[in-house]
Amino acid sequence: MEQGIRIEGLSKRYGEGDTAVDALKEVNMSIAPGEVVGLVGPSGSGKTTLLKCLGAVIEPTRGRMTLGGEVIYDGEQGGWKTKDLRALRRDRIGFIFQAPYLIPFLDVTDNVALLPMLAGRPNGASRARALELLQALDVAHRARAQPSELSGGEQQRVSIARALANQPPVILADEPTAPLDSERALAVVRILNQMASQYQTAIIVVTHDEKIIPTFKRIYHIRDGRTVEEVGEGRGIS
């Protein structure tokens, strides 16, 4: 699997000496483009640390990460391959948060178009891309609305559109369904699946939402900093 994301032997140690804590121990993961995997585990198991490492906001201690067939981090060969982690996050990684975290002073279109704009694409093209995504996510009718005027589900869909804006090979979703009831939560998962296959993006969903865990085909359990891969029920969304 050349595309998607692959993690090999990723470790993260906080602190040094006697007080050192190993948050991640030799984690291995591999997700193909278009695939949606779950990442579950109890609190303190290291899943947030893993997400932050994947999201290039903290630096792992050891291991290797490959994104879209390109090594972005190699603990043996000097760590991050690029100095500009912001550009990396902007262009290669999409984020979906527990709350939508839309920029309140930008309207829906510009919230989505902001990423292409930050990447230096013209405003017109960025907005066209945003509208396209909003249409795909069925919120195009709210394109000129302010985020505060949207419902929770609409906001979450806009945030999914934003994550997709720069067509990243991977999207990290951090508890995307936590504030939603089961019907809406399942709807979000359906959208994620749909988007993953439509845009050939690998999506990692961090969750402990019992309602949606059964929908994953593949689930990584993380416990004490180690991952255990298991095949999920994968019954999908009916």
Partner: protein, 397 residues
């Protein structure tokens, strides 16, 4: 790329404009303060300009007539008039006193002048110049007197026949112009009780009331009531003569002090209002610091309210430059609104001040630059806070 700052301002423009207005009123107060100082300086200049004199001749070793009491004989002007280079010379008196107007007393500087000579108001706002040699007055409009009204100075009633403007003493008292002779009388005229008791005192003095010398007492009494003093002589220099040369002549030969326009300005501005100027300068500094602090706090608070958004922005790849630019632009925008509101409000309320407030364009320009610089500096605090935000806080709560 869209302007994040602009979008943010647009999003919460009500709050933003209100904050800017609040800041603007503060800036307006600062501008007014500067205007008060400029007004004092300008009042002094106008006082000198409108008196139409090139040289002020006053009592030896005094800095009269505005800054210090000065008394010279009222025939001194004749001697001055005889000097070469002198085109016009006229006596004037200045005295701050209460002018009775209806049932109230107005504090005013009563100026005695010779019509048609230096010391006369240069222009009128309404009415006419003095026609009679007595009992007519031209008042500064700030006195509140109206044309045709009768005012009382000491013992005589005067009719207000003309109004002028911007004629105030260095203390800010509006001027009332009356004929020199009336002013001389008013300046030294005592109230009736004092005159009567003075006469009794003189009559009780055996040296002045000698039985063998009839008429001596009357002569003494008469001598006591006559006044031949004025406060200054205003001199206009003729063509071809320099004020300094004429002033030197006067100092040397007339045993009087003579000040040229520049020296008078120095006395009025550097000496008379120096303390007030420092006072105002101090106030300006404090107001500037307060304004800066307020801008800093406002921008800082606004930024703190957006910490989460900033973290998200950073996480999704916004550059520090963009974020700092956003905050800086907001601070500048706030400063701009504040400046505009401040300038407007200062201009609107300046005429309501009892003393003249001069808002100079150069001051406004200076204030604009200072406001912008202060806003930029004030925003650094917020920018530092914003740059310290860790994008990781957006993940995992």
């Amino acid at each position: 790329m869209i302007s994040l700052a602009g979008r943010d301002i647009l999003h919460s423009w009500g709050k933003f404009v209100l904050t800017g207005m609040g800041l603007g009123l503060l800036i307006g107060a600062t501008l007014t303060m500067a205007g008060v100082y400029r007004g004092m300086v300008d009042d002094a200049r106008v006082l000198l300009t409108n008196s139409g004199a090139d040289i002020w001749v006053v009592q030896k070793d005094t800095q009269g007539p505005y800054a210090e009491a000065s008394s010279i004989r009222d025939d001194a002007y004749r001697g001055v008039l005889g000097l070469p280079g002198v085109a016009q010379a006229a006596s004037v008196t200045y005295l701050t006193m209460q002018v009775r107007h209806g049932d109230t007393d107005e504090r005013a500087m009563v100026v005695g002048f010779e019509p048609g000579q230096p010391g006369e108001p240069a222009y009128l706002l309404a009415g006419r110049r003095l026609l009679r040699g007595h009992y007519e007055a031209i008042a500064d409009v700030k006195t509140g007197f109206r044309l045709g009204e009768r005012i009382r100075i000491r013992r005589h009633d005067y009719e207000v026949v003309g109004l002028t403007r911007r004629m105030v003493s260095s203390g800010g008292d509006p001027m009332v112009f009356i004929p020199l002779k009336d002013a001389q009388e008013a300046q030294f005229l005592k109230d009736n009780d004092a005159i009567v008791s003075d006469r009794a005192r003189t009559a009780g003095n055996p040296a002045l009331n000698r039985p063998g010398v009839p008429g001596l007492l009357d002569a003494v009494n008469a001598a006591q009531t006559i006044n031949h003093s004025v406060n200054a002589v205003l001199v206009k220099v003729g063509a071809g003569a320099t004020a300094e040369a004429v002033a030197q002549d006067i100092r040397r030969w007339k045993h009087l002090q003579a000040y040229t326009r520049e020296q008078m300005e120095e006395i009025l501005i550097a000496k008379l209002i120096a303390t007030s100027a420092k006072q105002i300068g101090m106030f300006l500094v404090i107001l500037t610091i307060v304004s800066a602090a307020i801008v800093a706090f406002i921008i800082y608070t606004m930024t703190l309210g957006k910490i989460r958004e900033i973290a998200v922005l950073k996480l999704i790849g916004t550059r520090n430059r963009t974020i700092a630019g956003m905050i800086l632009q907001q601070a500048m925008g706030l400063g701009l609104i504040g400046f505009v509101v401040g300038k407007i409000s200062a201009t609107l309320w300046a005429p309501a001040f009892p003393k003249y407030v001069l808002l100079e364009t150069a001051d406004a320009m200076r204030a604009f630059v200072i406001v912008m610089v202060v806003c930029a500096l004030a925003s650094t605090l917020a920018i530092r806070a914003a740059l310290k935000v860790d994008p990781a806080t957006a993940i995992g709560g």
